[in-house]
């Protein structure tokens, strides 16, 4: 049945991993992920989950260690942010290339320099091409649900890819929110024990992480890409099962009041909730505003996005990261690319918002929509609210 609790979201995410009965965890602390790491260690040291817990000496070693354990067939978890994620970036494509069902919780934080410990998406954006399935949670409930769903998706025999779950650092991780924490019995029913594809064990020796000459490398990469692209089918199935069992619905792209929308905001992450309030306020003013929230970043939900934008005149895409010297925000450039070949497509404007924890309020979203009504900004992408 689950229990309604008021809980800090980072702690709740760790609790969700505990419900999944992980066998091994390796973490290195970094603000604002540290409450996840600390609470995982509380869970293990109190004996609530039977697991080996490693306080490793760096994030690179954290991901390396969980790869080793996942190779033996253990269910694993790790977590990080920002510089830590970048430090493990060498190992990110290796985890997906080796097709290991690792689950990682990321408390999104800005990447240096200058150093900034507050929230934006500049840590996950460089990881775009590393082959990981990536979920964005908007609130505590989604964070909890997505951690559990992640294991089921990752371990599916047709997927066998690592999954990471995004939670906006501080702005989500450190919020105390009311949410339904599932029961152990419910989660056990939803998520059976892991059945690994192959394991490191002398009774049946295999070699993992071999060398692929140019002759075969491209085939290996295509196989990985196809697996990631096709995984959207499994993700949607898992989300359907989740809805049937727990009553909460998940879609790769969620729309809010877009049925007759003229201008729609696009968000990813917890700002979506603020944007919802702005859409309601705009509607009361008579502005036909709508909102599109992206929950699945990789594999990119092309079909769902194309469906969501039908009939909308202008998209105001908000990005919490910028591709320096490039086409602006990553989300916007991906949306533009996704819609390029469509015979009818909305005008698209791009706002870079909320970098390094900069607060984005309801009034800001309202202003962004009104400014976007013309279908074009004065620049290809605008750093919203930046002085000067």
């Amino acid at each position: 049945m689950g229990k309604r609790v008021g809980i800090e979201v980072a702690i709740a995410a760790a609790e969700a991993a505990a419900l999944c009965r992980f066998d091994m965890a390796a973490v290195y602390p970094i603000t604002p992920q540290s409450h996840v790491a600390e609470h995982l260690s509380d869970i293990v040291n109190d004996g609530r989950v039977d697991a080996t817990f490693m306080t490793v000496e760096s994030e690179h070693s954290a991901l390396s260690a969980v790869i080793g354990a996942a190779g033996t067939g253990a269910r694993v978890v790790t977590a990080t942010s920002s510089q830590g994620l970048l430090y493990m970036s060498e190992v990110m494509p290796i985890a997906s290339g080796m097709r290991l069902p690792i689950v990682m919780i990321v408390a999104n934080r800005a990447v240096s320099s200058p150093i900034n410990i507050w929230n934006d998406h500049s840590d996950i954006m460089p990881m775009r091409d590393t082959g990981w399935i990536t979920f964005f949670s908007d609130n505590g409930q989604e964070a909890v649900d997505m951690v559990i769903q992640a294991y089921k998706v990752a371990e599916n025999r047709e997927v066998l890819l690592p999954v990471n779950i995004m939670m906006d650092g501080f702005q989500l991780t450190h919020m105390v929110e009311p949410l339904i924490m599932p029961d152990q019995e419910e989660v056990d029913r939803f998520l059976p024990p892991i059945v690994p594809y192959a394991t490191l064990h002398p009774d049946k020796p295999v070699s993992m992480g071999t060398l692929a000459m140019p002759e075969i490398f491209s085939e290996a990469q295509k196989a990985k890409d196809v697996a990631l692209v096709k995984s959207i089918r499994v993700i949607k199935e898992v989300w359907k099962e989740w809805e049937a069992q727990f009553g909460r619905k998940y879609e790769p792209v969620q729309t809010y009041r877009t049925e007759d929308a003229d201008v729609a905001l696009v968000t990813m992450g917890s700002m979506g909730e603020t944007a919802e309030v702005a859409v309601d306020a705009l509607r009361r003013e008579g502005v036909k505003a709508g909102l599109i929230k992206i929950k699945l970043w990789r594999p990119f939900p092309f079909a769902d996005l194309k469906n969501a934008v039908k009939g909308i005149r202008v998209l105001a895409v908000t990005d919490r990261a910028v591709s320096f010297g490039g086409p602006g925000g990553p989300v916007c450039s991906e949306i533009r690319s996704a819609l390029y070949d469509e015979p009818a497509r909305p005008a698209i404007v791009n706002y870079i918002i909320g970098l390094g924890g900069r607060d984005v309020q309801v009034e800001d979203f309202i202003a962004m929509v009104k400014k976007a009504a013309g279908g074009k900004l004065s620049e290809p992408y605008e750093f919203y609210g930046v002085r000067g």
């Binding site: 290339g97 020796p205 071999t210 085939e219 196989a223």
Partner: protein, 97 residues
């Protein structure tokens, strides 16, 4: 031997390029690398087994009489066995002897 034809299609590649066939490197015969090969003099050989120990390929084996010989499919002709043999029972020479 693998039942898949080489080179594999992308559908055939094992997930993560895992290799499920331990010791399958022996399908590749490194013997084609060598210039010289070892010859054992059974008069001098004291059957100590040092040549077997020191072979980096692990291709020297003991026969039924306790003498040793190199598997020519793999012998790279490095000459360590000949150099280390205590009694000088091994000589490196061209294939024909």
């Amino acid at each position: 031997m693998s039942d898949k034809k080489w080179p594999e299609t992308w559908q055939e590649v094992n997930p993560g390029c895992m290799v499920m066939r331990p010791g399958s490197a022996s399908e590749y015969h490194t013997g084609s690398w060598r210039a010289k090969r070892p010859f054992w003099d059974k008069v001098k050989c004291i059957k100590c087994g040092l040549c077997y120990i020191y072979c980096p390929e692990g291709c020297i084996t003991e026969d039924a009489d306790g003498f040793f010989e190199a598997n020519l499919d793999y012998c790279k002709g490095c000459g360590i066995c000949a150099k280390e043999c205590w009694t000088g029972a091994i000589a490196m020479a061209n294939e024909e002897g």
